[in-house]
């Protein structure tokens, strides 16, 4: 009885669902095709690096071969780099600079964002906009005046000079992310905390920081990526090998005049790119949640 009744109803439903589904399928196709194209464009260079890093120097130099294939794979470039103490030095330098910059950036931008988002004081609006505008000044323009400052402080050719200047790249954007995140926290939450007996510091540490954790992680990843991958500032400020971070170290040590040690450059660059990849993989969910925080009310 109910089966026949259901049988009569189904065709109508099917028809409707069918048209919806075809629309959806079309959207899926478009999405997949564009994503695949984008993935190819973005993944081709690292893939080429990977392929090259496993080739012997002779194979790299032989233009008659298909450059996308490996005929006799070798680990010699990786071995060469990992056994060279100067590359270990570069890696340690990168770690020191990045760790210091990330901590410095997060402390400064969380405190600044909290003040700009919550403590209404004269000029706080202008200041908040100003912070973001400084982010729009490119580092290729800033490095000349910064060179004078770093030089004046006697910090040229030192990782500490880099620790000093990288925050000019990271702090504005991270502050801006955090202002947006803090601003989305309802005002009543601070008022409840104030009444509960919290002072400003407790409110920041016990309410704002935990509630804004996705934003903080997003900002941390940004600061990490920027300082790990910085190229212009270390190129300008560091010339002695012992103080170089990985990014410029690899290039400076493996290019001798016109001779490019392509295999080692590729292997070194790939290994240098590994830490950000690992961090992204672990924190991706938080990163996306952080970037889309303003979009939906949490």
């Amino acid at each position: 009885m109910s089966a026949t009744a259901a049988g009569r109803d189904i065709p109508g439903i099917y028809h409707k669902a069918g048209s919806l589904r075809s629309e959806r399928r079309w959207a899926m196709w478009t999405a997949y095709v564009s994503l695949i194209i984008a993935a190819i464009i973005f993944l081709a260079p690292p893939f080429y690096m990977l392929v090259t890093s496993f080739k012997t120097n002779a194979e790299i130099a032989d233009y008659s071969l298909n450059p996308w294939l490996i005929r006799s794979p070798t680990f010699e470039h990786y071995a060469a780099i990992l056994s060279n103490p100067i590359f270990i030095r570069f890696f340690i330098n990168s770690c020191i600079v990045t760790a210091c910059v990330v901590v410095l950036t997060m402390v400064i931008s969380v405190l600044a964002a909290f003040a700009l988002a919550r403590m209404r004081f004269w000029g706080s609006q202008v200041l908040a906009t100003g912070v973001f505008l400084t982010y729009l000044v490119p580092d290729t323009l800033l490095f000349i005046p910064l060179y004078q400052i770093v030089g004046g402080l006697g910090l040229l050719n030192s990782v500490w000079g880099l620790v000093l200047v990288y925050p000019t790249l990271t702090v504005p954007f991270c502050t801006w992310i955090m202002i947006g995140y803090f601003a989305s926290i309802p005002k009543e939450l601070d008022e409840a905390a104030l009444i509960d007996g919290a002072n400003w510091m407790q409110m920041l540490l016990k309410i704002f920081v935990p509630v804004a954790m996705p934003g903080i992680i997003a900002a941390t990843i940004f600061a990490f990526t920027v300082s790990w991958a910085a190229f212009v500032y270390p190129t300008a400020f560091v010339t002695t090998a012992e103080q170089m971070p990985l990014t410029i170290g690899v290039v400076s040590q493996l290019v001798r005049g016109d001779t490019f040690a392509w295999g080692q450059i590729m292997a070194g660059a790939l290994m240098a790119a590994l830490p950000p990849v690992i961090i992204y993989a672990f924190l991706m969910d938080y990163y996306i949640a952080g970037l889309t925080a303003g979009a939906t009310k949490g």
Binding site: E188, L194, P210, V211
Partner: protein, 366 residues
């Protein structure tokens, strides 16, 4: 537990907006006072000044006898429940309630005792480990109240705590709040725009309008003896009817004569009060429940008048009839058995014992 005193409180926001214009209010220990009024009348501002969340432009606020104007919220020993609950989203229900006590460095055992006791009162013991995200609106409301109760403060402050709930839950939580107050007896200031909430909860209702207090009194007094036209119209639902009228004297007795010529006799008990106003154009006010059909039980001081319904609304237990007379909207509450029809004149009785006369020049009830 404490009294709260507001003395000539003024709040001016920048741009010369006077949100609160010099109000005086004495709230007794254990009292449940409700500030009620239309949106934007300054209720929240007043409450937030008591809480210390808003600076006081002028005047003085005292809690438990001590002036608190310059004391920050955390040292005023008050607790507040917000309309959107303002629960800490990253903390469990237990931690939400314990937060204030932890900051005040209460011993762990004492915190635990208080949280569990509050949870028992509010019936949320099974929810203690949950995050606010996993609670319904009514449950969040209870947690917000629990956070206030555990602190055992001098004063509870509520700002429209039920406005985010659906109608049924609102009625339920209203009863709950009243029960909690009867248990803990903490002095309470409660803000709402809903006059039914105000009437049902309050020991005393404070009716506010445009930054001033119109009247303060127990619910019944506001209902029966409104001081101003605003209070008369605001308290009670459906709202009181107002009709333009003239007070006249004929052979020693007073009459209210409506614009259409209907003359309604004023009860003798009111004569002395109204006599000085004879001859004036006034507003005649009568509540819908005092404008009924002839099936009424009341026998004294009934005055007949005839009106033609424009809309009839059967409610089940009663029927509301809406009329238009001399530009005034009038509502009457009829017995559901009364055969009322749109367009057919209906004989009504005005209970003149319950009448009000309003001086339109100053909107005061005579």
């Amino acid at each position: 537990m404490a009294q709260v005193s507001l003395r000539k409180i003024v709040k001016a926001y920048e741009g010369d907006v006077q949100a609160v214009k010099g109000i005086n209010l004495e709230i007794d220990d254990h009292e449940f006072v409700v500030l009620v009024g239309p949106s934007g009348c300054g209720k929240s501002t007043t409450l937030r000044m008591i809480a210390g969340l808003e600076e006081i432009t002028d005047g003085e606020i005292a809690i438990g006898g001590a002036v608190v104007n310059d004391i920050p919220p955390r040292d005023r020993d008050i607790a507040m429940v917000f309309q959107n609950y303002a629960l800490y989203p990253h903390m469990s229900v237990y931690d939400n309630m314990a937060f204030g006590l932890t900051l005040r460095k209460f011993p762990k055992a004492e915190i635990d005792k208080r949280v569990k006791e509050a949870a028992r009162i509010l019936d949320i013991t099974p929810l203690l480990e949950r995050k606010p995200k996993a609670l319904s609106g009514g449950q969040r409301q209870r947690v917000a109240m629990g956070r206030a109760i555990v602190r055992d403060p001098k004063v509870f402050l509520f700002d429209e705590p039920l406005s985010n709930l659906d109608a049924k839950l609102r009625v339920q939580m209203r009863t709950e709040i009243k029960k909690v107050h009867q248990t803990v007896r903490t002095t309470t200031v409660y803000v709402t725009h809903d006059q039914v909430e105000a009437m049902t909860l309050a020991d005393r209702v404070v009716v506010m309008n445009q930054g001033i207090i119109e009247q303060v009194g127990p619910p019944q007094e506001l209902y029966h003896h409104p001081a101003t036209k605003f209070v008369a119209g605001f308290i009670g639902s459906p709202a009181m009817n107002f009709m333009p009228a003239r007070l006249e004297e004929a052979s020693g007795a007073l009459n209210v004569t409506l614009a259409n010529g209907t003359s309604l006799p004023v009860p003798d008990s009111r004569s002395a009060r109204y006599r000085p106003h004879v001859g004036k154009a006034l507003l005649f006010g009568i509540r819908p429940e005092h404008l009924t059909d002839e099936k009424t039980m009341d026998k004294d001081n009934l005055a007949p008048l005839s009106l033609t319904p424009e809309v009839i609304e059967p409610m089940g237990m009663e029927t509301l009839a809406h009329f238009r007379q001399d530009g005034a909207e009038i509502t009457a509450r009829l017995d559901p058995a009364t055969p009322a029809e749109v367009g057919v004149p209906l004989r009504l009785l005005a209970h003149m014992d319950q009448m009000h006369l309003i001086d339109p020049t100053n909107d005061k009830v005579l």
